[in-house]
Symmetry: C2
């Protein structure tokens, strides 16, 4: 009568695909496009490549009575490509990926690319094609399906070609039931906003009608990529400690602590081990259960660590953010601020904010909000986002002379090796107090500048009247 | 340089535990309590048992400098118990559970109980204890830890006792680092609201100070439990069809369709197969890839199915909902409405709404909102919920004579074999158009009654003045 089952993670995300952003045919098309484009941008970033991305949507057939169609979605990039030994699992297995390390990436879950292909497969029963080369002698082409119950790839075909022109990159092609009319505006908006957070990327979008939308790069400068760093001791827990010990080759607790955590030098390590009452030369693998718990507690309570190393973070930068906002919104006033690095729960993060006013911004009651996290535009779940909370509850816009209806826009970017997303759909950021505080400080600084500007405009009007 | 990893689902939810509701020590205590209480309520429901649940929190030790403590959390119920063959995986493996069928349960993901124990384990390094009996000859006691990287239980101890007093139920005991002061109000509120949606449950809560909070049952009537039903054809996709075919013993397409889907009788099955151009006596296991796709398309476009069978749904009921709201809010006015069953994406659902005014309700700008889904109180993420969207955007309260500041409260309950939660944290329901529509209709009906009541009150005041 009580029937127990174990389900695979692919099965879990198949059953709950709305949580991953596949809730209806138009949203599913949007999510598929963004997941693949974000993968392409990550692939360029690792190789310090100027990204060239082509997104092509073609209509295959109408689906009667549904208002949807079967489309072919093809995304091509010039990124670093995928090692053929990993292609099947990278695209047909969930919880498999290369972005689990401690540094800022667009991707984070090991889920998005596979979910797009999974959605296509369950709505069309057709396999996906992945073609990739790392720029070497060979180009590999795989035709794949996903065994959802086992969370495994099924390789239907694998062909290898000579890479005569030394091509490097990845092409994904798959079919899905979708509603382009319902998602077109969001998809175009996604590309426009991606241009702000990735000004060095060139994106071409060809839609079902053959219309071309070209988003040229605004700069040839490749941003400094983030570096992988060690975890910060403030974020440690017993599980992490156990894993670090299991993987460690260090012979003493002193060298173990220094080499496995950032911001832990010899002096700090000695102090921690003194608090934990552990000898500095003990073999980490010989620690008892209680000693490990004690060590973790001592690290969490030490309280004197330097702030986390921000080299695992890669912001947009004030100048490029200004250019991007100028190009997209064409305002009269613009003020951009990049906050110094801060941290939450041991994770470093940087907040960047741009406030724009006037010009071609349409007047609105409230504020036009453009939210970014790790250079990804967030176009859904605005009300659930920490930025919305700050803008509506912590900023009194009238104090800064902003009228109730005003041509005002706010652009926010939060970047970190770990963004506290509220859901695997990556559309809203949770209101961690440290992040909220940084946003408040940054937005108020920009709002003060706006107040000065609006006062000047006011004065000019008075002068003209007389 | 690019390092690929496969992570287990336990590892995934460990790394992203904030998404599952374990974002900080006070929220984690709240989530642990709710996940275990919901498991106990589900266990009573299956056995048509009047639930007696005891939740006991004891402080073990202070955690210096953190404002948190190590607590022991113990939850005991008189539910149907757990088969000892399944206890280790039920509580120490994620994506393992008994609630994956097509009927309304509080649990749905196979995740919650294990996540509470996982959080306890990573913050205290201590094992959990599960004691259970199905009322037979034996009581089984397991001491468990979770191997997070493998998503497997580690049984440290397994003892069997004679069940001399024929006890039936389950006891969970584990340790976790938490902040009771920060979550106390929410935990008490959770119990109060659970009494509304589960008026037949009796809950005793003993907190860290030894204070007892008793929530007695308001009725001895056990609600009609939901029944498992076949999937509705409107929700079919290729993956589901492939699995049904693989598991089916039916020899013909006709009997296959009739026995695997609700609302498909012989006549309907014949019409579908005619549209799909498939012979009624074909062996389902002999269908080609294309034929399966074609069959799924024909079913999705058939358009003439009867609405989904609501016997997989178990609402609170108008009378019990009224009693619960009366007890909790003590209003002067109360109006309750249960909508007829509706459906979204092939899933039946029922909306129940209670509107209360005056009496002991404190005046508020807006509306006090009490949201429920599958008899679970939702206390977080209000702004992300479909009910918030309806209450703030689709209902013009002033039209119903409700003043800007008013003693008004709205209680909403949505129940379905599948609730479209926005996240695995189960705190907000997505705005499916069909659900939104039912909420609007129900709330407007109640609001019209409130308008009549407020007009009467108005008239009386006028009469008294003269
Ligand atoms: N265009 C691409 N070029 C190179 N590698 C890619 C590309 N697309 C995907 N990959 C590889 O496949 C892996 C899996 O991709 P997938 O989108 O499923 O997960 P992810 O990007 O790691 O995380 P997320 O779920 O957050 O997107 C990536 O980690 C990356 O290594
Ligand atoms: N108190 C209990 N009595 C009986 N069975 C229980 C109890 N608690 C848990 N179980 C069993 O253990 C399984 C796993 O519980 P868990 O909370 O992890 O997942 P779930 O309740 O199925 O889904 P969810 O993640 O949505 O809570 C349940 O499906 C149920 O069969
Ligand atoms: Mg990705
Ligand atoms: Mg549960």
């Amino acid at each position: 009568e009580v029937k127990f089952e174990q389900i695979s993670p692919a099965d879990f995300f198949y059953r709950n695909r709305d949580i991953a952003g596949f809730s209806n045919p138009s949203r599913s098309l949007y999510t598929s496009v963004r997941e693949l484009v974000e993968n392409s941008l990550d692939a360029a970033e690792i190789g310090r490549i100027l990204p060239n991305i082509i997104v092509e949507l073609t209509a295959e057939s109408e689906v009667e009575g549904e208002g949807t169609s079967i489309y072919k979605l093809r995304v091509e990039d010039n990124g670093i490509g995928v090692d053929p030994n990993y292609i099947p699992r990278a695209f047909a297995t969930v919880l498999f990926g290369s972005k689990y390390g401690y540094k800022q990436n667009r991707g984070t879950f090991g889920l998005g690319g596979t979910m797009a292909l999974l959605y296509g497969q369950i709505t069309t029963n057709r396999p996906a094609t992945v073609i990739s080369s790392k720029g070497g002698k060979e180009i590999h082409k795989f035709v794949l399906m996903i065994d959802i119950m086992k969370n495994e790839p099924r390789v239907l075909k694998h062909e290898v070609y000579k890479n005569e022109r030394k091509w490097r990159g990845t092409i994904i092609e798959f079919y899905l039931e979708a509603d382009y009319t319902g998602s077109k505006a969001k998809i175009i908006e996604y590309f426009k906003q991606t241009a702000i957070s990735n000004p060095h990327a060139s994106i071409l979008f060809i839609d079902v009608k053959g219309r071309m939308y070209f988003f040229p790069r605004a700069t040839d400068i490749v941003p400094e990529p983030p570096k992988e760093t060690r975890p910060h001791p403030v974020g440690v827990d017993v599980e992490l400690m156990n894993r670090l010990i299991a993987n460690s080759k260090e012979k003493t607790l002193l060298s173990f602590l220094v080499s496995n955590f950032q911001r832990v030098g010899e002096k700090t390590a000695r102090e921690i081990l003194e608090i934990a009452n552990l000898p500095i030369d003990k073999d980490p693998k010989k620690l008892t259960h209680e000693e490990i718990t004690n060590l973790v507690e001592s690290m969490k309570n030490y309280g004197k660590f330097r702030a986390p190393d921000p080299s695992s973070v890669s912001p947009i930068g004030e100048e490029l953010l200004r250019i991007g906002i100028q190009n997209m919104l064409k305002p009269d006033f613009i003020y951009v601020v990049q906050r110094p690095p801060s941290s939450y729960s041991g994770y470093p993060f940087v907040v960047e904010v741009g406030l724009a006013y006037g010009g071609q911004i349409p007047p609105i009651e409230g504020v036009h909000l453009y939210r970014f996290a790790n250079k990804i535009p967030l176009l859904y779940d605005e009300r659930a986002d920490v930025v919305w909370k700050v803008v509506t509850e912590k900023i009194d816009w009238s104090y800064y002379k902003v009228p109730k209806i005003a041509p005002i826009a706010l652009v926010t970017h939060i970047c970190s090796p770990k963004i506290p997303y509220k859901s695997v759909g990556k559309e809203a950021v949770a209101d961690r107090p440290e992040i909220e505080r940084e946003l408040v400080i940054a937005i108020r600084e920009a709002a003060r500048q706006l107040k000065l500007y609006l006062s000047k405009i006011e004065k000019k009007k008075m002068t003209i009247k007389r």
